[in-house]
C-alpha cells in the first residue's frame, strides 16, 4: 500500500474531538433547545423524545460523517432565512408569490425546483467527468449533488412551515404524501451515495446512482405539473401521530440504500461485460474494481436492510396503535414484507453460500423493481389501509 493512500485512509478514521465538534454540538443543542422553547407546547411527550433522540443522533452523526456538518449548516441558514422572509412579509403563504427570495429561491416550491435542476445537472456532470476523465468536473458534480440535497431539505423544511401558514390545522411534517416522500427519497439517496463516494474515494459511480435520483425528479415534476400534487393537503386522522416522524424517514433510508445497490449493480454488470471483451478498456480502468462494487452492493443492501427492518417494526407498532393490529396483511405491509424477504434471501445467499458478482448484481437490480413496486406500484394498483399517496 502506498503511503499516499495510507494518509488518505487515515482521514476516515475517527478524529480527536476538536473545536469543530464543540461548535457542532453546541449549535445542535442550541437549535434543539430553541425548537423546544418555541414549539414545546405543541409537542407531546413522544415528540419531545424524538427531538432529543434526533439531536443526540445528529451530534453523533456529525462526528461520524463530518461532511454532514456543512450540509446541515447550509440547510439551517437557508430554511431560517426563508422563514424570516415569510415573517417579514406578514407571515402569509401568499408571500411566496411576492417576496423575491421566496419566489425565486427558497419558498418550498422554488427550492424543490432548484433541487430538481441541481440533481439532473449533477447526473450529467458525473457522466461528463467520467467520460472526459476530468476530476474537476467530477468534483463539480459532487458539489451539485450536495447543493441539490441542501435545496431539497430546505424545500421540505420550508414546506413544513408553509403547511402551518396555509392553515394551522393543516400543519404537519412533510412526509405524508407521495409527493413529499419523493423529495425525501431523492435527498436521502443522494446523501447515502455521497457518503459512500467519500468512503470509497471514487466518483465514477455518481452518474449511475444519480440516474435513479433523476428518475425520481422526473416523476416529481410530472406529479407536480400534471397532477398538482405539490398542493399542501391536511392529514387524515390516522396519520396524525408522532410515529410518522420516525417510520417514514427510516423507510426511506432503506429505499434509498436499495436503489443505490441496484444502480451499482447495473454499473457492475456493464463493467463486467466490457471486461470480458477487453479488460484494458479505459472505461473499465476508470470504474472502481468489480470487487469494490460488489462490496458496495453488499454494504448498501445491509444498510438498507437494517433500516428497513427498523421501519417495518416501527410501522407495525404504529399500525397496532392506529388500526388495532400490528399486522393486517394490508398490501403495503405485505409488500414491505416481500421486499424484506427478498433482501433477506439475498443476504443469506451471499453470507453463507458466498455468492458474489454477476448473479448478485442482477438480483440487486431485480430487487429495485420489487422495491419500486412496494413504494409506487402498491399505491397505483392496489388499495388498502395505506391509501395516502394515491396516484
Amino acid at each position: 500500500m502506498s503511503t499516499a493512500n495510507a494518509s488518505l485512509e487515515m482521514k476516515t478514521e475517527r478524529q480527536p474531538w476538536g473545536l469543530r465538534d464543540t461548535i457542532w454540538t453546541a449549535l445542535i443543542l442550541l437549535g434543539s433547545y430553541f425548537a423546544w422553547d418555541v414549539f414545546g407546547s405543541l409537542m407531546d411527550v413522544y415528540e419531545i423524545g424524538i427531538l432529543i433522540g434526533f439531536a443526540a443522533f445528529w451530534i453523533w452523526f456529525g462526528r461520524f460523517w463530518p461532511s454532514i456538518q456543512p450540509y446541515s449548516y447550509a440547510t439551517a441558514v437557508l430554511s431560517l432565512l426563508a422563514i424570516w422572509i415569510y415573517i417579514q412579509n406578514g407571515n402569509v403563504y401568499e408571500a411566496n408569490e411576492t417576496a423575491f427570495f421566496l419566489k425565486y429561491l427558497i419558498s418550498s416550491q422554488s427550492a424543490i425546483m432548484w433541487m430538481s435542476a441541481l440533481f439532473v445537472i449533477a447526473t450529467a456532470a458525473y457522466f461528463g467527468g467520467l467520460f472526459a476523465k476530468s476530476e474537476s468536473i467530477n468534483q463539480f458534480a459532487s458539489f451539485l449533488a450536495w447543493a441539490g440535497a441542501v435545496m431539497g431539505t430546505v424545500g421540505m423544511m420550508v414546506r413544513w412551515h408553509e403547511s402551518y401558514l396555509i392553515n394551522p390545522d393543516y400543519g404537519h411534517i412533510p412526509v405524508s404524501s407521495l409527493y413529499e416522500v419523493f423529495i425525501l427519497f431523492a435527498v436521502m439517496t443522494t446523501l447515502i451515495y455521497l457518503f459512500y463516494e467519500q468512503k470509497m474515494r471514487t466518483r465514477a459511480m455518481g452518474g449511475f446512482v444519480m440516474l435513479i435520483v433523476s428518475a425520481s425528479v422526473a416523476f416529481l415534476l410530472w406529479y407536480t405539473f400534471d397532477r398538482g400534487a405539490h398542493e399542501i393537503q391536511p392529514l387524515v386522522p390516522a396519520l396524525k401521530s408522532y410515529w410518522m416522524k420516525i417510520h417514514v424517514p427510516a423507510n426511506f433510508v432503506g429505499y434509498g440504500a436499495f436503489s443505490i445497490a441496484a444502480m451499482v449493480g447495473i454499473a457492475y454488470l456493464i463493467v463486467a461485460k466490457l471486461k470480458e471483451s477487453n479488460s484494458q478498456a479505459s472505461f473499465v480502468q476508470r470504474m472502481p474494481s468489480l470487487e469494490s462494487m460488489d462490496d458496495l452492493m453488499y454494504k448498501t443492501i445491509a444498510l438498507g436492510f437494517a433500516w428497513f427492518t427498523i421501519a417495518t417494526v416501527l410501522g407495525a407498532m404504529w399500525a397496532a396503535e392506529a388500526w388495532g393490529g400490528y399486522w393486517s396483511w394490508d398490501p403495503k405491509e405485505t409488500w414491505a414484507l416481500i421486499v424484506w424477504l427478498n433482501y433477506a434471501a439475498w443476504l443469506h445467499i451471499r453470507m453463507s453460500k458466498g455468492w458474489r458478482g454477476k448473479p448478485m448484481a442482477w438480483w440487486a437490480v431485480i430487487g429495485l423493481f420489487i422495491t419500486t413496486f412496494a413504494f409506487l406500484g402498491v399505491n397505483m394498483f392496489l388499495s388498502g389501509l395505506h391509501s395516502y399517496g394515491e396516484l
Binding site: P234, V236, V313, W323, W329, I338, A344
Partner: protein, 667 residues
C-alpha cells in the same frame, strides 16, 4: 438456516446416525431456507394482487365459476390463512430451528475461542500473516496496543515462544443467534394471535359463523364465542348514548359474536372537520364498566389514541350514523293535489309506502350533516372561500316489489347555482355509478311549494281542463275545434308527464307519416308549451303576491328551470319525492377491540431482530495473533476475519504498521 464457514467447527463426528443427519441437513439447508423465503414472498404477492376475503359472488363475476372454484380450492381467496401458507411458515420455523440448534453451540464456543494454542506454523498460514524481526518486542506493550484497538487479549506460553491472541467483534455471532431466534419468536407471537383455535373448534363442529344479517337475539349459540377466546380482533358500531358488551369478529364468509367481559357505554361522539370537509379528528367518550372494577374507567379515545384495559385495547376506528331521527314529507309525484304525507322515521329504518303504481320499500341508509364541496373558480373569486357546504342530506333506497332499487341523495336545504336556488336530488340505479342530479327550483320563499302546486295541477286532468278552458277562450275557431284542441293539449300534457318532450317526439315518429313529422312535432311541442305556460300562469295567479301584468325575470327563469325538471322527471324512478324537513342527528362510533396476547411477544422478537441485524452487519469478528519465535527472534503477526471484506487487508496492514512503530524493525 445458514451454513457458516466452519473452519473453526469440528468435522462431523456421527456417521452412524447418517439417516437422521441427512434429514437435519435438508431441513437446515440454505437451499430450503431460501426456497421457503421465496415461496412466502410469492404467496404474499398473490395475496395482494388477488383481493382477499371478498364476497364469493364478486369472485364469480370476476373469474367465472370454473376459476373461482380452482382458486378457492387452492385457498387463494384467504392466502394468509390457507393451510399450505401456514405449512410454509411452519417449515420455515423448523428450518430456522434446526439451523439454530446446529450452529449455536459452535458459535458460542467460537465466541470464547481465541485459538491461542495453535502452532507457530498454523499462524503463518492464516489469511493474513506477516513475519518480521522486531528490534524490541514487549508482550505487555503489544497487549496494550491490541486492547487500545478494541481487542480482548489472551496470552499463551508455547514451547518455542509466546502467543498473544486478540479477538474483537464477537457480538457478530450473537447477531446470527439473535436474528434467527427472533424469527422464531415473531412467528410464535403471530401464531398466538391467529385464529387457529377457532379453526379447530369449527372443524370439531361446535362453531359456525353467522352469515345472515339478523338481530343479535336471533344469532344461534354456535356463532358465539366467550372469554375462552384467547385472541381476537373485531369491530362494533355503537350509537351515542348506547352501550355494548359484544363484538363482531369477521370470520370466513360471515362473522362470530364475541362476548366481552365488560360493558362499554358511548356517552358522546365528536367529530371535527377541516375546511375542506375532510374529517380532522374524531373521538368517543367511553365508560368501561366491569364487575372487576370498583370504579368504571372513563376515557376519551381518538384515532391513534386507544384505551388499554388489561390485555384488551379499544380503538377509535370509524364512525357513522347511529339512527338519526328524520322528519320527512313524501310528495307523491303523480298526486293530483298538493298534500304531502308526513313520515317520521330514522336512519337504518325501513318504511313501506303504497302508491297507485305499487308498493315500495324505503330503506333509509344514511344521513350526512355536512356536504362540503369545492367552489368553482368564479365562486372562489366572489366569496374568497375554497369550499362551501350544501347542508344536510339523506341517502336512501326505494325498492319496488320485484326488488329493483333506486338510490337517492336528497338535500334538505336549497343550494345556489348561478344565482338561483335549487333543491338537489340525486338518483342512481347502481352503487358503482355516480348520482345524477335533478335541480328542483325553489320559489321566492326558497321552498318547493310552487313546484308541487304546479306539478299536481299538471297531474290533474280535470283541473287542467278547466284551467285551460278558462285561460284559452275559443278565438276564431268553432267550439268543436276548440274542444279538440283542449283535449289534445290534455293528452299531450299526460304524455309529457309520462315521458317528457322525447315522449312526444317518439309518439310523432311512430304515428305520423314521415313527411308530416316535423310539422306535427313542432305543433305538438308548441301546444304543450302553451298549455304548460298557461297552467304556470294560473299557479302564479294563485300566489297572491304575483303581479301578472309583468312577469318578473325570476318567474320566467323559474319556469325554465321547472321545465328542465319536468322533462326528466320520468327518468326519476318510482314517483315519490322525499323532502327532509327536520332531523335529530345521532352518530355512532365504530370501535375496534382487540385482545392480542402475541403482541408483546412479536415486539420482543422484533427488538431481538433489530439488535441482531445490527450486530450481524456492523460487528465484524476479527482475530489477531502475535506469535513470537524464541529461536529466530521473529514475530509473526496473523489475522483472520470471520467475514473477510476488502478493507480487511488494509486494516491488518495498519495494525502491522502500528505494531512495527512500537517494536521497531531490526535491519
Amino acid at each position: 438456516m445458514s451454513q457458516p464457514d466452519n473452519q473453526n467447527a469440528k468435522p462431523d463426528t456421527a456417521p452412524k446416525k447418517q439417516h437422521r443427519i441427512q434429514w437435519g441437513a435438508f431441513l437446515g439447508s440454505m437451499n430450503l431456507a431460501v426456497t421457503l423465503l421465496m415461496m412466502l414472498a410469492i404467496a404474499s404477492v398473490i395475496g395482494t394482487v388477488l383481493q382477499q376475503n371478498q364476497p364469493f359472488q364478486d369472485y364469480i363475476i370476476k373469474f367465472g365459476p370454473f376459476w373461482t372454484q380452482v382458486f378457492n380450492s387452492l385457498g387463494l381467496f384467504h392466502v394468509y390463512g390457507a393451510a399450505w401458507f401456514i405449512l410454509v411458515l411452519l417449515f420455515l420455523l423448523i428450518s430456522t430451528g434446526v439451523c439454530l440448534t446446529r450452529n449455536t453451540p459452535g458459535f458460542l464456543k467460537d465466541m470464547k475461542q481465541f485459538s491461542e494454542g495453535l502452532s507457530l506454523n498454523a499462524y503463518k498460514h492464516q489469511p493474513q500473516s506477516i513475519t518480521y524481526t522486531p528490534d524490541h518486542f514487549d508482550a505487555d506493550q503489544a497487549t496494550q496496543l491490541l486492547e487500545q484497538q478494541g481487542y480482548k487479549v489472551k496470552q499463551h506460553e508455547r514451547d518455542d515462544g509466546r502467543t498473544i491472541a486478540g479477538m474483537k467483534g464477537r457480538w457478530n455471532r450473537w447477531g446470527y443467534i439473535l436474528t434467527h431466534v427472533s424469527i422464531i419468536v415473531i412467528c410464535v407471537g403471530g401464531l398466538m394471535d391467529s385464529n387457529l383455535l377457532l379453526k379447530a373448534r369449527e372443524l370439531s363442529g361446535n362453531l359456525a359463523p353467522e352469515t345472515r344479517s339478523v338481530p343479535l337475539s336471533q344469532i344461534p349459540q354456535k356463532s358465539w364465542v366467550g372469554d375462552e377466546n384467547f385472541s381476537f380482533r373485531g369491530t362494533v358500531n355503537v350509537a351515542e348514548g348506547q352501550k355494548t358488551d359484544v363484538l363482531f369478529l369477521p370470520y370466513d364468509r360471515g362473522f362470530l359474536v364475541q362476548k366481552l367481559p365488560f360493558t362499554i357505554d358511548v356517552e358522546d361522539f365528536r367529530i371535527q372537520y377541516y375546511d375542506t370537509g375532510m374529517p380532522k379528528n374524531y373521538a368517543s367518550d367511553l365508560v368501561l364498566t366491569s364487575p372487576e372494577l370498583d370504579e368504571p374507567i372513563r376515557k376519551t379515545i381518538e384515532v391513534n389514541k386507544p384505551l388499554y384495559y388489561k390485555n384488551y385495547a379499544i380503538y377509535q376506528s370509524s364512525f357513522g350514523d347511529g339512527g338519526s331521527k328524520l322528519d320527512l314529507q313524501v310528495h307523491p309525484l303523480l298526486a293530483r293535489e298538493f298534500k304531502p304525507l308526513e313520515l317520521n322515521t330514522s336512519v337504518d329504518q325501513i318504511e313501506t309506502i303504497n302508491t297507485p303504481v305499487g308498493k315500495f320499500r324505503i330503506e333509509f341508509n344514511d344521513f350526512k350533516l355536512h356536504n362540503i364541496v369545492p367552489n368553482s373558480e368564479e365562486e372562489q373569486a366572489k366569496t374568497g372561500k375554497k369550499m362551501h357546504n350544501n347542508g344536510p342530506s339523506i341517502i336512501f333506497k326505494v325498492r319496488n316489489e320485484e326488488g329493483k332499487a333506486w338510490e337517492y341523495e336528497n338535500f334538505m336545504v336549497p343550494s345556489q347555482q348561478e344565482g338561483r336556488w335549487f333543491y338537489m336530488t340525486g338518483m342512481r340505479t347502481a352503487t358503482a355509478e355516480p348520482f345524477r342530479y335533478l335541480f328542483l327550483p325553489a320559489d321566492e320563499n326558497r321552498k318547493l311549494d310552487r313546484f308541487f302546486e304546479f306539478l299536481t295541477l299538471i297531474n290533474d286532468p280535470d283541473r287542467t281542463q278547466a284551467t285551460l278552458k278558462d285561460a284559452l277562450p275559443a278565438e276564431g275557431v268553432d267550439e268543436r275545434t276548440h274542444e279538440m284542441q283542449l283535449k289534445l293539449m290534455n293528452q299531450l300534457l299526460m304524455l309529457f308527464r309520462r315521458q317528457g318532450f322525447t315522449g312526444i317526439t317518439r309518439f310523432v315518429e311512430e304515428n305520423v307519416p314521415a313527411e308530416d313529422q316535423k310539422r306535427v312535432r313542432d305543433y305538438y311541442i308548441n301546444q304543450t308549451s302553451l298549455a304548460l305556460q298557461t297552467l304556470y300562469l294560473s299557479v302564479l295567479e294563485k300566489e297572491e303576491t304575483q303581479d301578472l301584468e309583468t312577469i318578473s325575470d325570476f318567474n320566467k327563469q323559474w319556469f325554465e328551470d321547472a321545465m328542465v325538471v319536468l322533462n326528466s322527471l320520468s327518468n326519476y324512478g318510482p314517483p315519490l319525492f322525499f323532502e327532509l324537513k327536520d332531523f335529530t342527528h345521532i352518530q355512532s362510533t365504530g370501535l375496534q377491540i382487540t385482545k392480542s396476547p402475541g403482541k408483546d411477544v412479536v415486539y420482543f422478537g422484533s427488538t431481538l431482530l433489530i439488535i441482531g441485524v445490527f450486530f450481524l452487519f456492523y460487528m465484524r469478528q476479527k482475530r489477531v495473533w502475535l506469535a513470537f519465535d524464541n529461536h529466530h527472534q521473529t514475530l509473526t503477526v496473523a489475522g483472520k476475519d470471520t467475514k473477510p471484506l476488502p478493507e480487511t487487508e488494509k486494516e491488518f496492514n495498519r495494525l502491522v504498521d502500528a505494531l512495527q512503530a512500537q517494536t521497531g524493525i531490526k535491519q
